[in-house]
Amino acid sequence: MIEKERVFELAGGLIEDSPADDTEVFFHESRGHLTRFANNTIHQNVSVTNAEVLIRVAFGRKVGVASSNTLSDAKRALEQACEIARVSNDSADYAGLPEPQPVQEVNTFDEATAVCDAMTRAARVKNVVEAAKAVDAVAAGALSTGTGLSGIVNSRGVRVAHAGTHVGLNIVMMKAGGSGTTSLKGWKLADIDEGPAAKHVAERAVKTCDPQELDPGEYVVVLEPQAVGVLVAYLAYVGFGGKAYHEKRSFMSGKLGLRVTGPLITVTDDALDPAGIPVPFDYEGVPKKKVTLIKKGIAAGVCYDTATAAAEHTESTGHALPSGSTMGPFPLNLFMTGGDATLDQMISSTVKGLLVCNFHYVNVAERMKTVLTGMTRFGVFLIRDGRIAHPVKNLRFTQSVLEAFDTTSAVTSDRQLVGGLGGGMLVPGMKCDVFNFTGKTEF
């Protein structure tokens, strides 16, 4: 992997050569590996090496962005960005580049993960496949490892770099109409233990066999963390970004300080929390700050980059996405505060309801009301008189997340780091007293 000093040298040279008023160079080098399996066989297995520079320049408020993954052509990307800026009109949003600020060092680099080879990944996949075969199930999923180095240098003096490793494992098992899944995320291969995870998924695949049909309607739901993670991710997508907030496209617009969910809901974004996958700075090189988004049901804040912070007369919270993205700032390291319950307690306190393990192919049906629609997948169980009665066939839900969270009556103390957004989300399980299922399918 390239040395940080070499990144600063390369980026610094481009900035020196730039005729623009403002110049920002984002450099990213990566080595990524992914071993994918299905039908108890490794069927796809890839290793990719890449490096790119993304350059943003401004002449006054005229902005140009260009990128290249041929480092010997970085100068040409700079020229391209300048050419774009020169012929462009003024940007309404551009608020200049950020000034340098102290950045907290975080360690997310693990040598063993960095050097993990294909045979090591295959050996771990084999353990998963054997756990599936032990219960006559079929396994699918993927194990990924990799390294990345990101550096940002700008003409105002920002000069930051961070190298990290990453690892992700998702496991699916299927058996006679039943299925189960789990996903594990981290930056250290040693922290990912596929054995217990595979055993759990195998047990779930067995327990969900031969599901029975159930009519849609309103149910009490006990949501496992993976299902909660999907809902929280979409809440972030439609509402927690400063640009959506500023443009009044967010359910948070005009609601700060007001109650938006029940009191058991607290959501923060904290890229420095070691319980997640820490990241020291955003794509503008601004240090990451913790943002409380919803506090005990009250809309508390949104996240900003330099442009949206200027528009809202506040400071960047370090949530910029790569320049050129028109999405605006976004929280990539979400945390939902745990409660004091367990999943077993939630089930035993439910007279009639559903235990939902995960959702599939969710989409926004009505943005401002946070109405989502999607399917259940990898296990739904009918709860009757405080006990799991039997697995049921998958259902479609059409439900406002805020309204569901308004009826949250219990949250688990245990939380799980699940995938979905950049740095993973640490989320608990929860019980919602009202959840609307609007359709059913045939399996």
Binding site: T49, T70, A118, G324, V371
Partner: protein, 480 residues
């Protein structure tokens, strides 16, 4: 490109690798957005690299790099072999490639005006003018105009002797008018939502869209939507416009006919399919007016190319004929499962990715109906246009779509506008309820530039031909 590919093939042959291929790709993209009268973003991206795929002892390995030197190519070939050997340690079934005649050929997609030769100033001028018209409507809070251009050069060479050079140029763009009032948000787009429509054409395609000429209507419809009543629920007759129908085809026909899904190869992520290999020729997928082809040769389609990323020539294949299911999208690895050879649908989204079975242009063939007559025959129904949201289960049966706008049809006439229309159904039941498809005059190609699949995630450009069609007794209006 050529020299590196030839060296890689020679190296793989010298190392006696049973099968290997290399794809060298040089791609560039330009994206422009004008928003509320100002430039929102102008970005230019270039990406170059190569990927090597080897099949060793029946197991796949793939490695790729952005460093296009001979030394790096040699390392990458070695890495691909190591990866394949690791794959071989967890292998229940060896991969057997169906035979294909190695092709020596080249292909350029149709392009009259190279979009990268058109000055950015000209593009901004056109978008700004359209944006001004959108913004003239007071109810429009956010006015957005988009334009994107793509160019891909790729060279494919295999140890079997194939050598294919292709250049594909794509263009697209559109408008979106957003109205926000009292906690309500409504969007109206042209010609399609999510940044417009796309084709394998040059800049002439952008000019043919007449964005400015459509801006006033789009803005006016956004204004209508923000005060419109909620779409009523119930079972109704539906007419879907071509843009929405394109996504309906995509989700409920295009994905389930991918043979890798059918065989369980995507079970770990996107899911499988309700179809089985022996459904070919037997399963009733829809009514007799439903005819679908997968046509990678359709002029201008966003899924149009010369050869797939296994060097198999682009083809036109029957998918559904008079409602009966006729065939899958296949690859060299999967086609043997249905006793066929590949029909050429393997594509990767870049040098860094492996080819997967991807839709080409999965087209609902035109029928013989006239749109006015279709509407006139409806006593009580709805006409829905332009997709807003989509969701479907992991076997592609239960779907729910939302559209931007609905018009009431009462006594054969289009009437008032409804907001937030949604409809839901089960795939074969829904297609069985289709009783008319409009004719060639209403038929056009729709480009979907954001089809996601695979791990690591890939985004493919695919196309769908569609004309408005009518469906009876559909459940409408599922919304709290």
């Amino acid at each position: 490109m050529r020299a590196l590919c030839e060296k890689a093939v020679n190296l793989m042959r010298m190392r006696k690798i049973p099968y290997g291929d290399i794809r060298f790709v040089r791609a560039r993209e330009e994206h422009i957005e004008v928003k509320n009268g100002a430039v929102e973003s102008v970005t230019y991206e270039e990406s170059t690299g190569f990927g090597v795929r080897v099949l060793v002892d029946g197991a796949w390995g793939f490695a790729a790099s952005n460093r296009t030197t001979t030394e790096e190519m040699t390392r990458v070939v070695g890495e691909a072999v190591e990866v394949a050997r690791a794959s071989g340690t967890v292998l229940d079934r060896r991969v057997e490639l169906t035979r294909v005649r190695p092709v020596l050929d080249s292909y350029n997609s149709q392009c009259a005006v190279d979009p990268f030769d058109v000055p950015i100033e000209d593009k901004l001028r056109m978008l700004t003018e359209a944006n001004r018209t959108l913004s003239a409507e007071k109810a429009v809070t956010i006015a957005q105009c988009f334009l994107s251009s793509f160019e891909t050069h790729k060279t494919f060479a295999s140890t079997e002797g194939a050598f294919v050079v292709q250049k594909i140029t794509e263009c697209g763009g559109g408008l979106a008018a957003t109205a926000i009032r009292d906690g309500e948000l409504q969007v109206r787009s042209y010609p399609n939502s999510f940044r417009g429509n796309f084709a394998t054409r040059g800049y002439e395609y952008i000019e043919s869209m007449d964005l400015t000429g459509n801006a006033a209507r789009v803005a006016e419809e956004a204004a209508q939507l923000i005060t419109a009543p909620q779409c009523p629920g119930g079972r109704r007759t539906l007419i879907l416009d071509g843009g929405q129908l394109a996504l309906q085809v995509h989700e409920s026909i295009g994905h389930p006919i991918e043979l890798d899904r059918v065989l369980g190869l995507e079970a770990g992520y996107a899911g499988t399919s309700f179809l089985k290999p022996d459904d070919v020729g037997k399963l009733r997928y829809g009514s007799e007016v439903v005819n679908v082809v997968a046509d990678a040769t359709e002029p201008g389609g966003l899924g149009t190319f010369g050869f797939d990323d296994e060097g198999v020539p682009a083809q036109r294949i029957d998918i559904i004929t008079e409602g009966i299911f006729r065939g899958f999208l296949t690859s060299r690895e999967t086609a043997g499962a249905v006793g066929q050879t590949s029909n050429g649908t393997m594509r990767a989204c870049g040098w860094h990715a492996i080819p997967l079975i991807r839709m080409t242009n999965v087209n609902l063939r035109p029928g013989d109906a006239d749109l006015d007559r279709l509407i006139a025959e409806v006593d009580d129904g709805l006409m829905l246009a332009t997709n807003r949201s989509w969701s479907i289960d992991d076997k592609r049966l239960n779907f729910q779509f939302g559209c931007e706008i609905a018009w009431e049809i009462r006594d054969g006439k289009l009437g008032r506008v409804f907001k937030n229309p949604t409809y839901t159904g089960i795939t074969p039941e829904f297609w069985a309820s289709c009783d008319a498809v409009c004719g060639r005059d209403h038929w056009r190609m729709w480009g979907t530039p954001n089809c996601g699949k695979g791990e690591p995630g890939q985004t493919a450009h695919v196309g769908h031909g569609a004309a408005p069609a009518r469906f009876r007794n559909v459940e409408v209006g599922v919304m709290r």
